[in-house]
Subunit: 371 residues, 4 copies
């Protein structure tokens, strides 16, 4: 069973994840992981920290001569801005952050909370996901994302498919499929910056090539959509997760909502629509998995909200820490990693196997079986 | 660590769940569990099966003289409509259901799939949740829900609180806070019925009295919102989960989105808004937990969608099984149960303890500590 | 991932287990499960309760027309001696039992403790294991056991193999391979009975046909021997678990302790010895898995030991409840079930798959691969 | 829920563990962890690798200003002998090692297997355990071990208690309580060395101060002895685990085997014997936990056993890698760490809490309750 733990503070030296359960025989391309890390750091609207850190992963274990061995894989990123033990204590929790509840829960200062609750940790989730993507690609499963909304600017492009997004996404500063919408989004970010404000948004993750039957309906803990929802909701600042038509399902009637099934020789089973976002009964159904998430605006504000000094109990404005204006494009990259991990986990659970050879054989046997 | 497994087929005799990890010393009121089961079965728009089944739980273990002992608790519901072994095999998967992917995955017929993927299983989740509610009530934690949308009819009532919903919800046929909106919803259901169509909708679950600090930001597997999202998304037909402002966060700027913090002597910390839905940093923050979910329309249609005969591979209309027109009110009751379970799980993890005495002492100590 | 929970009290009506994760397509033979249940109840030295209960399993879910569907499998045994709510409270804990620690931990009476800690629960573990055995047999994996010691009487028969035990075990009243030793064991039990005393003993479980490579060395949670040790030590009264040479390894030098490896065309790899008990590096190595466990004497004594009245704190003799003189043969049957479950779990983790068809294909592919 | 994953190869640069679930507020003493690491490396009979590596832990995360924050704790040891990518491939599996099964299972070379299956990994388990010990000491729980047998030399000292062992163990080269026996053990090791042979042995771990009621009888996954057995059996080369009287229970009758219970004012409940090894019904019973394990002789022999060249399938002598003659004292130190971890896990599950303050309050409340 695939699992991972991340560790590290925002301003500690070491960010380290251990990913346990990857089979043997996979050649890992570190450059591709670094490319994903770079994608997380880019995006118009990120803060000054991104000028300091240029994340590079070091794989500390689990590979011999570049190939996985089945052993736990250590993924390490070294921080440049290492100040965790010298940073000042904070007393005024930032509304929207872990500060308040975290300080009470763990009976400690806000500094101790934010060093761990910081989104800096998500660099490791990207690294973990980037490695999973390399495994999935051996089975022609590919995962991409695109931003559909930043603040009040959104894109309205129904019936997008993986192939369309893939073609349209190239070289975007905001991971957006439309150059025109992107311009308006950048304007929106610039305006927020001037107001010392922050912005949230929405993005979609597409997984293409996922075989029918990952996840299961038999037990509430086995549903693939539930696992992906858990993963995405655990990303800092994500507040909503929707599959396919998502909230739009509520207003649609059954006769229009569900995706009719067709069959053609050679092509096999197919659909003309994908309202389900590739999930029926908690399982992948062979269509693209499409999941959409909403990120709330960054909670650290240059013009801070009202808060309470936890020592004096007096009203005061919240603390300010260096932060971003808008991190929705980054969040979409993190979400790709999370989706890649969850699909890999479900994939390995279905196909078993300890080596790439064995998994490939099992996978191919199943594909033949369901034809 | 609290856990449960459900078992049983839609038309099998026994629906049984085992709930493991409930502490000793809780007097269990079976009538209250049955009341929740009844709530799940009611609601305008349910199908003829509800006239057959009048769910009553039997507690098969884990109680001695009406009190929990710490041992696993068996919850059994006996089906009246027991025909699982004599029902005909089906060949044409219903779009939107587990039929298609389930049959391929498990290499079996559609009948075998739908007997388990059926929402009949959710009766057990309601029973599990109803028992959890009784534990939570010892700590003044209460959970309710209300339906906010059925098809195109929705209620628009911002800034609802637990207390408001509690007052307004009484004696509704659709678990709706407004008699006026309810009437329009019933009309919507009647129209769908005439069209042989089905409807989905949206509902909200409120948890009141949850102490600050359940869940945690320290590890992706410890976040309370992620756990609740996993639980809700695992309910049949749920396609979207949102906390607080949810998808509405995307268009709100940071300066307006986050809930400022206040303090008053006697009252302690408080907020004037609750956009966060009671969750910050993956933890309960002391405000009501508010989570909204979208249910897709029932996938079993009297006027069936197009499908494929999995034997002949020819296009044909999907199978029809006795079904509901609209089950959103039921789904909201199930969701209460799921939320109750997830909060209980996080509660027991935070407060430890094996008996109600011990947990109460630990809980009170913490409440004093964070004052 | 295979898992199960058992529920039920010693004198409650329902003993129910749910086994989750068994693949589809397995024809389950209930008579074979009942046969194993009978084996658990027999054995010279069992107490009067065994005259009352004649365990018969009812499968409450997870089967349609006698075949597994992938859904959770409910296993129910109905107790005849149902008196849980009317039995008297006890105040004097029996040394060696859960009574003392259980009453303090759960802040309740001894009655509440012993109703759950009772070995009556192991009937369900036998049922779970008997079902697992039926799955394993599809892959020619077979599990048997034999008693090697009761009290001071032991059998000394080095280098036993699965085949030898299988041949010699038939029709024994004590699950013992030697009629001569069995006679002495029965005499030992008779003598203990006269003294109002009880006896423990030792037994071995053999698993034959386990393919090379179940379990793993890569992570401490993946080792097969550790999982089996966990399972066996969790059986009531088991106090020691040994693989192969076990404690005998301590006095053997390396040059004599390890099993040299050979290869012959047709036969493939093989060993001439099996000191390792079929486990190297936490994995099955293709030889028989041989694990030995020690059961302590029954802790309920007709001539009770000294204890303390937990109310008055005065010294008094411990409570007496109807009990056995010796249950080592029963324990060996339970242990077979536990080993069957753990091997099934490791087997399904390695081979993945959701249907018997798929698992068989995956298994055969691997067997070819490692030839 | 406490958990950890270790990572790293025997000759890779980084050995890293992440320990997740330690509460906030614990001042960690790195020197004490290093002292335990040194204890693991010492002991007469270790091989030349121990002259190269002088293990020092670096804590990479989870501490701010020397105190735990509740965040995952990274523990890193840097290897000096870093040659993993340049070491030659091996073809002749060493009997007794993971080589054979590991190479087949993961479809890779023996080198890839032994780099992970190596006992080098246990340095991290010692580090994890040493940190857990520091938490346990806050509650006056202490853990020590002593070697009771090396090869044919064993110590026979019945009724040892934690206090006795603690007094007698000081400054031993073999972690042995008797100077006289130690001399004979060293002689035994010297003789084995001359024969190019290796030795195993036995050791005991004692845990003192464990409160009544860790673990539970209610579910097979909650038993403390089963968890400890799982942990110990997962240590490389451990083949047997026994609690208290262990295998000796088999020949003892019930009237002599169980530990009678007494009570004295001031002192509370107590026992005069401890055959149970501090465990009844899968729970700590307030007496010292005493667990004994058997380590098989080191499987790497200078005068190698017969094996098979996995390429040519020809019989040949097994590979030789630099190794130890006897590592039983090291193994006893590792086992202390494993027991410390398992007790900490059970302790945190019982007492809940996120900060040392909270846990201490919960713990004290329980101790008062059960008085």
């Amino acid at each position: 069973m695939l699992q991972y733990i991340t560790s590290g503070e925002s301003h500690g030296k070491y960010l380290i994840a251990i990913l346990e359960g990857i089979p043997s025989g996979l050649s890992v391309n570190t450059a591709l992981i670094n490319k994903e890390l770079r994608r997380r750091q880019e995006g118009y609207g990120r803060g000054p920290r991104m000028d300091i850190e240029k994340d590079q992963v070091m794989i500390t274990s689990g590979l011999i001569k570049g190939k996985t061995t089945g052993a736990p894989i250590g993924l390490m990123i070294i921080n440049k801005d290492v100040t965790v033990d010298s940073l000042p204590q904070l007393l005024r929790p930032r509304p929207g952050h872990a500060d308040f509840a975290g300080a009470l829960k763990y009976d400690q200062g806000i500094r101790e909370v934010l060093e761990r609750s910081s989104a800096r940790e998500t660099a490791l989730r990207v690294a973990v996901g980037a490695l999973c993507k390399q495994l999935l690609q051996k089975f022609n499963i590919n995962i991409i994302s695109h931003v559909v909304r930043i603040g009040t600017v959104n894109i309205n492009h129904p019936n997008l498919t993986f192939e369309m997004v893939k073609k349209m996404i190239k070289a975007s500063r905001l991971n957006c499929i439309s150059r025109e919408v992107e311009k308006r989004m950048i304007k929106e970010i610039n305006q927020a910056m001037k107001r010392n404000d922050t912005l949230g948004g929405e993005f979609e993750v597409f997984a293409n090539g996922v075989p029918v039957g990952l996840g299961s309906y038999v037990h509430h803990m086995r549903k693939l959509d539930a696992a992906i929802a858990q993963g995405l909701m655990s990303i800092q600042a994500v507040k909503a997760v929707e599959f396919g038509l998502g909230v739009g399902y509520a207003a649609a009637s059954g006769s229009r909502a569900h995706d009719e099934l067709f069959y053609a020789k050679g092509k096999g089973y197919y659909r003309k629509t994908n309202n389900a976002g590739g999930i029926e009964g908690g399982m992948s159904n062979g269509s693209d998995i499409i999941v959409r998430a909403t990120m709330k605006p960054i909670a650290t504000l240059k013009r801070p909200l009202l808060s309470v000094n936890m020592k004096t109990k007096k009203t005061d404005s919240a603390s300010f820490e260096r932060s971003d204006i808008c991190a929705v494009p980054s969040c979409s990259v993190i979400a790709e990693g999370v989706v890649a991990y969850e699909i890999t986990r479900a994939f390995l659970e279905k196909f078993g196997g300890d080596s790439l050879t064995e998994i490939t054989r099992n996978y191919k046997g199943y594909i033949r079986q369901i034809k």
